[in-house]
């Protein structure tokens, strides 16, 4: 068997240590070591964005990072959004605008949106579309995702203390 290394990651505010192969991808660490199945694998090449998570607040392809290489960072996945009883305003906006169909790419879009709205709380449509090129959706044709991001931005501006 391949040699293993000890990897400690801080994910969604909690620290986890596992003994894994050094070649283990971050997305596989999240999904199969930690059971956080929200980030999905769509292309293994960093193109589709289904595996997008936040590393230190920046959107990142979890299929392009080795788990061992992102030790010492703060990683946030879709599972960190919202609370047990309520959805995050971005999730809520995607629901109300019908911004998802099959839902496979959705966690990646949510991560991209969190990053966008943290940087720019009031993006116009062109800025939203530019940011969303980070991710591919094959179901929705993007129109309702754009609508959802606008609605989420408005909702979050209306309650600044609750922003992600």
């Amino acid at each position: 068997m391949t040699d293993t290394v000890e990897v400690t990651l801080k994910v969604n505010g909690r620290t986890a240590t596992r003994q894994v192969e050094p070649r283990l991808l971050l997305v596989d660490f999240l999904r199969h070591e930690l059971g956080l199945k929200g980030a999905h694998v769509g292309c293994e090449q960093g193109v589709c964005g289904a595996c997008t998570v936040l590393i230190d607040g920046r959107s990142a392809r979890s299929c392009l990072h080795f788990a061992v290489a992102v030790q010492g960072t703060e990683i946030a996945t879709v599972e960190s959004l919202g609370s047990r009883d309520s959805l995050h305003p971005i999730q809520e906006a995607f629901h109300k605008a019908h911004g998802l169909q099959c839902g496979y790419c959705t966690p990646g879009f949510l991560a991209t949106t969190v990053e966008l709205l943290a940087r720019n709380p009031d993006p116009d449509e062109a800025e939203i579309r530019r940011a969303l090129t980070n991710n591919i959706c094959r179901c929705t044709g993007y129109a309702n995702i754009v609508k959802a991001v606008r609605a989420a931005a408005a909702a979050m501006r209306a309650m600044p203390d609750k922003a992600a």
Binding site: Y104, Y142, N144
Partner: protein
């Protein structure tokens, strides 16, 4: 919900959303796996055509984590070859080993499967299987594969012509000759694929006895998968339960039964261990069905008023290396030939249609099947007639359409259009986009601010909800056509509805609940939909070809209606009224005119399940459930109009979509929000197909762009906002009045955009008769056009 009696027609928000938004969807790769699960990796052929000389697995077997390697010969002992069940004059039946034995016929075809302790070790094992091939000559190109001397894909199929079909209407030649003008054109359509964001995968879990398996697969057709597994593995159906968990998009790509599904199931029985396989994107692009590699050679004759007098088609479709399950390779060939007449009164028609075997990935039923390409042809011809006669192309369409007053109408190939709004849809679309104003403003050279601006129309019919007669007409002798449901009012009065369909993002859990709530008179919140599980749901044809609303909706209405009748009898018995006088709505039953006195569903269920002393009405038994089946007519025909307004950059050839308008008529709408979502998504796929997507094979049969870096999908910056309007012409043939809506987006978008670009470049004298229309291609055409013309 404001109105608790009528849910159909309302924008009910989706029940599927919350868990998906929280990242808790259970797609195949998200399912928990037992610790003793083995993982598969398939060894793919790097050659398009080769003899497999030898396979040496010793290096793989020596690698830690690799448990076993099975070759085609090993798997052949467990799985019978798969054969598409087509019976059609002109069709050559052929089998396929689920793992190739002697010969490979396309790049990516499997030659061995590695069984390993984990997915990484399986990948290692693939690299360590040494396969010796003897490369053979390749026929990868549709245009040359049928020529004499071309390498044969299957020795028993002469000229690689897997299928040839034809039709000539009575007195065709005389009718065709009545036209004063004839236009001939060749339309060429590039090969594309569905490319769902979730690649495929399977997980087979043996039970504790080792006798049965639960088989999870990312499929649109769990019931058909189970039947096929039972046949080819020679295992009784009760020993296989197929579950389609959350499915990350299908678009027809997953309405196929693939070799890996047989292998995963067979190895779970053979090894008596859980077996998992998750496809990667490269495998997905190389081996999941492709589509639309078509040539339409068309001739159309018409009079001086632009009225079509005759249409002649020779259609060539690239079938790839094998006929796939369950549709075989004739679907595109028969589809394009049968649907091309669309909303038009064309009664003189002759076609020859062909499916050609090549050393490329097998083709299959991608969203829209042949409709995006056959409408690219007929709608392109409508524009050409207009240009030739100096009559506006919209007017040409209106002159040739079947008017609403002539409906129901049976078209030239025998398909009945029961209701529709061809003329009204086009007129409404023309008004909404100010077509006349655009034409007035458009200069003869189309050049405004450095961009060529054009407008393109696609008026089309959309086949949906195909029933058994529709499949028989296309040679599919064993494709059922019906779907089914079981509707139960449970002892507490809550409603469970089991339907034979499977969800892949369409929102069934929401829309089917709307249908059941209305049909039963139940409160929507009390209705739960169960689907995608052969262990729970009754048999059916499943979810593809825009079937759900028609066949699932129809089956649910029928079963609900039976249950409602029984509830009326019980309520009448309990309220001492005639059943005919009982009204059931909003979750309550009462005597007509006396809504204040009544029973809720729980009260009726108490009697049905013998939990009180009322006893049942005479003639009724216990329980409160019904099963019913619904086989729709031949097909259920929806219609729509797409209009695209584009700007082609005069320098770099980039196409920008400036406005995009859809007027759609899918009969009675269950959930407008979801219907619009289907149109958005389909149209975006059509934009990709028209402007960027193409699977490119070289002469050696190598796919040149088997990554998402190279096979371009539309992003948020490539897709415009959509203006959508609806007309509702409820079907009079199909239960509930529903028509399908899943494919219209892609069907309309491809021709509308191609025609818009053609219109934009018409001033340069450029003839656009193919797609995709990539910037490099268009800028070359513009350069050549300018070079061949004297400067103004």
């Amino acid at each position: 919900m404001a109105d608790r009696r009528h849910y159909i027609g309302q924008d009910v928000l989706r029940r599927e959303d919350e868990y998906l938004l929280r990242g808790r969807g259970r797609f195949v790769d998200d399912l928990p796996t037992p610790t003793d699960t083995v993982h598969l990796g398939f060894v793919m052929s790097p050659y398009a055509h080769a003899r497999v000389v030898s396979i040496d697995a010793s290096r793989a077997l020596a690698h830690g984590g690799v448990i076993a390697v099975y070759t085609g010969a090993d798997i052949a002992k467990l799985v019978q070859p798969i054969v598409a069940e087509i019976e059609f004059p002109g069709y050559h039946r052929h089998g396929r080993d689920v793992i190739a034995r002697d010969k490979v016929r396309f790049v990516g075809e499997h030659v061995a499967v590695v069984v390993a302790e984990n997915a990484y070790a399986a990948q290692d094992g693939i690299e360590l299987v040494d396969v010796e091939y003897e490369p053979l000559p390749v026929a990868s190109d549709l245009e040359t594969a049928t020529q004499p001397g071309a390498p044969l894909v299957h020795d028993a199929i002469p000229n690689n012509l897997i299928f040839k079909g034809q039709l000539t209407t009575k007195d065709f030649a005389a009718g065709f000759a009545r036209g004063e003008h004839v236009i001939r054109e060749r339309f060429r359509s590039g090969r594309v694929a569905g490319v769902p964001m979730e690649p495929r995968g399977c997980l087979a879990l043996p039970d504790h006895v080792g006798d049965s398996i639960v088989f999870y697969s990312s499929t649109q057709i769990p019931h058909l998968v189970r039947t096929a597994l039972a046949r080819c593995l020679d295992v009784a159906e009760p020993r296989i339960r197929v579950v389609a968990p959350e499915v990350g998009g299908g678009f027809g790509t997953k309405a196929q039964i693939y070799p890996e599904e047989f292998v995963v199931a067979a190895l779970a029985f053979d090894l008596r261990r859980p077996v998992k396989w998750i496809q990667d994107r490269r495998e997905e692009l190389l081996t999941d069905i492709h589509a639309r590699d078509h040539i339409y050679d068309v001739e159309i004759s018409f009079d001086s008023q632009g009225i079509v007098q005759g249409l002649k088609l020779s259609l060539w479709t690239n079938a790839g290396a094998y006929s796939t399950l369950p549709f075989g390779c004739t679907l595109e060939a028969t589809g394009g030939a049968r649907m091309i007449v669309g909303p038009y009164r064309i009664s003189n028609y002759a076609y020859e249609t062909h499916a050609v075997a090549t050393h490329t990935c097998p083709s299959g039923a991608y969203r829209g099947v042949a409709q995006p390409t056959c409408f690219m042809a007929i709608e392109g011809l409508m524009d050409r007639i207009g240009r030739k006669l100096g009559i506006d192309p919209a007017e040409i369409r209106l002159r040739n359409m079947v008017p609403t007053k002539d409906l129901p109408w049976v078209n030239v190939v025998g398909v009945r259009y029961d209701t529709g709004s061809f003329v009204e849809s086009l007129e409404r679309a023309l008004t909404a986009i100010d077509y006349a104003g655009f034409r007035t403003r458009q200069p003869a050279d189309r050049l405004v601010d450095g961009k060529y601006r054009g407008i393109g129309i696609c008026s089309f019919t959309e086949v949906s909800g195909t029933g058994a007669p529709g499949w028989r007409a296309r040679g599919l002798v064993r494709m059922p056509g019906f779907d089914s449901s079981i509707v139960k009012v449970e002892p507490t009065g809550k409603v469970t509805a089991y339907v034979s369909h499977a969800n892949g993002g369409q929102g069934h859990l929401t829309t089917f609940a709307q249908v059941v709530a209305d049909a039963l008179g139940a409160d929507l919140a009390d209705v739960t939909i169960i689907e995608g599980d052969t262990g729970a749901t009754p048999y059916g044809t499943n979810t593809f070809a825009s079937r759900s609303a028609v066949t699932g909706g129809g089956a649910l209405i029928r079963a609900s209606t039976k249950v409602k009748e029984k509830m009326r009898r019980i309520a009448g018995h309990m309220l001492e009224a005639a059943p005919a006088d009982i009204v059931i709505e909003g979750g309550r039953a009462f005597v007509v005119g006396v809504p204040q006195v009544g029973l809720d569903f729980a009260g009726i269920a108490e009697t049905a399940y013998s939990m009180n002393n009322f006893g049942l009405p005479e003639g009724d038994g216990y329980g409160l459930e019904a099963t019913d089946f619904y086989d729709p007519p031949l097909v259920t025909m929806a219609n729509a109009v797409h209009i695209a307004q584009v700007a082609v950059d005069a320098e770099d050839g980039r196409v920008e979509i400036e406005r995009y308008l859809v007027v759609h008529d899918c009969g009675r709408i269950i959930n407008p929000m979801i219907v619009n979502g289907q149109i958005h998504g389909g149209t975006a796929q059509g934009i990709g197909e028209a402007l960027m997507e193409e699977m490119v094979y070289d002469s050696e049969g190598q796919l040149q762009n088997a990554t998402l870096l190279d096979y371009l999908l539309p992003t948020a910056e490539d897709v415009p906002n959509f203006e959508i309007d609806h007309l509702e012409s409820p079907s009079i043939d199909a239960e509930g009045g529903f028509k399908g809506v899943g494919e219209g987006g892609v069907i309309g978008a491809v021709p509308a955009i191609v025609n818009a670009v053609a219109d934009a470049l018409a001033g340069l004298g450029i003839n656009i008769n193919r797609k995709p229309l990539r910037p490099a291609f268009l800028s070359r055409l513009m350069r050549e056009a300018r070079a061949s013309r004297p400067a103004a």
